[in-house]
Amino acid sequence: MKHEPDNSNLHDKSAPCACSAAPAPDNSTRREFMLKIGFALNAVAGAAVGIPLLGYAFSSFFKNHELDWVSLGPVDKFPEGKTRLGQFKNPVHRSWDGVTAEVPCWVRRISGDQFQVFAINCAHLGCPVRWFEESKLFMCPCHGGAYYENGDHAAGPPPRGLFTYEFKVQDGQLMILAGALPTLAQPNA
């Protein structure tokens, strides 16, 4: 049984075949020209797809942070001389964020309208710090960073004190300027 494809006509010298004829020199330069045109067209086409694609993927490099004032609730929620956990919905959020749109923070009311609002994230590697009322310390569960009541670095690996939010008191509400995860690159959350 023969399974070879029937290639006989390819080798048939009598059959008219462009490939076996000697190519004309002008034809070859035309092909080269066409090839160059092809490359050029595809460079344009590639840019038309590629530049928007990169712009989409790396949009964070062309965008400034959007922060907004959010309320942590009435000032009276926070007793003077105490540090309490505050929470707010991130001003920039999506309906499918679920619980992750909620952000906690530590609110220290020194007295009257004097506040300090600290980010929950340790300045070392971002783990959630916990407040210990009795020893007046924030302690981090990850690598043992500790901060004083006023947010200053007390012990452990953090390179600085706790990150703080800008705050204001408006119509009896404690407001903070929030919207981004604080890191060493962007300490003012």
Binding site: N90, D97, G98, V99, G126, R130, C142, Y148, T183
Partner: protein, 493 residues
Amino acid sequence: MKSPVQKLSDLGKDLFLWFDDRLHVKKIWDSTAGHHVPQSAGSWFYVFGSATLLCFMMQLVTGIMLALVYVPSADEAYATLEYLTYHQQLGWFLRAVHYWGSNFMVGIMLLHMTQVYLFGAYKYPREITWISGLVLLVLTLGLAFTGQVMRFDEDAYWGLGIGAAIMGRVPFIGQQLVDFMLGGQIIASETLSRFFALHVFVLPGSVIAIVSLHLRMVLTKGINEYPVPGMVVRRQTYDKEYAAIIKKEGVPFFPKAIDKDIIAAAFVIGGIVTCACVFGPKGPSGPPDPLQINASPRPDFWFLWIFSIAALMPEQIETVALLAGPAVIGLILVALPFFNGTGEKSWRRRPVAVIIVLLTWIGLGMLTYLGATSPWSPVMNAWSAQSTPDAQILHRSPLQLQGAVVLQYKQCRNCHAIDGLGGERGPDLSDVGMRLTRPQLTRQVVQGGGNMPAYGQNLSPAEVEALVDYMASLVPAGVPPARDYTLPQKTKN
């Protein structure tokens, strides 16, 4: 007259020939599975590469199965994880196999890399095989990290925070990198979506591409012969020597050298399934709710050593080490086959290589152990959960008892154990009166230092006095209390 069996067999043969004519199956098979390898390569030490690939294929299959149910949305992911674990028929098993498969894959890949290094297989002419293997290691660790995020629980949430904090240390473009990693300004829906895209499209696709290159190199440059001490690699002669080995003792990989790989494959699958059945899937732990701040995030097993390094590194060099360290290690590994591409292959003649391997594994092992126990972390509930041992309050004066209360109530024990109970961040205080004098104790409490916060602001003078009096009484029986030998002794101690 042909029998029906004969006819069927002829039909099969014809069918095969028809396909073979179009697909060149036999040619491809002979040049891949049937390629000749040195007989010596059919060794138990050579099974780790195929075992890693097997793990990857397990991950592909189980990953697709999990994706049938999992929803990569910050709002829904946790609920689908719980559904997978507790309601979907055999969902727990698929999750467990995928989890243990990833652990096995990283572990076996590290064994493969160790074997390749010890057997000199990275040397001339297999530089690209080695480098593509390094890329596969990075991709696999990337898969492991992004996979940890797919398990979108509190560890995943805070783990992303740790990743962002590391990115935030990059100079100049730190903030942009953080936003790029998170897909926004906070850890939320877009963060999970992009880690999902990485985990199921980008990284596995890249692994398939690079594995193809890796295997292609095995075919073009041959599998490393089992190294013999004294057989030295020279660029001028190696190719001829290898060709001679293949000519003399070359056997087709299939079926003459694959036997141990196949046995190892069964053990690997058996190991994964056994771990999956015995230990089950990991988590999910608590929901990814940022308001649940009592989380103690810990990374998965293969990243614990990095977690330890972050705790133990002097803070002055931490940023540089976290950012430049991986780059420097990567460069050394990429350059290895070029500056060390010839010479002895056998580990018996390469003591430095053996020492490097031992130090690396011991170092990683110790850091992993420390990461699992994390003695640097305060024990957050030691002050409320561990009572002061009776022996440490018996026969104490009222002032000392007051001091014991201060020690307990001011959470000293979150970092300082007494009789081994409590934190390990600071020294155990059971015998502190033997080591520090009263003035030293007072100074330490009030001013802190040596990685201890200062309590001067937070303790009244009376509390300090009581605390110091109590700690000075913490002296083992029959041992004199600490004395300051630079001063004439005048205190009652």
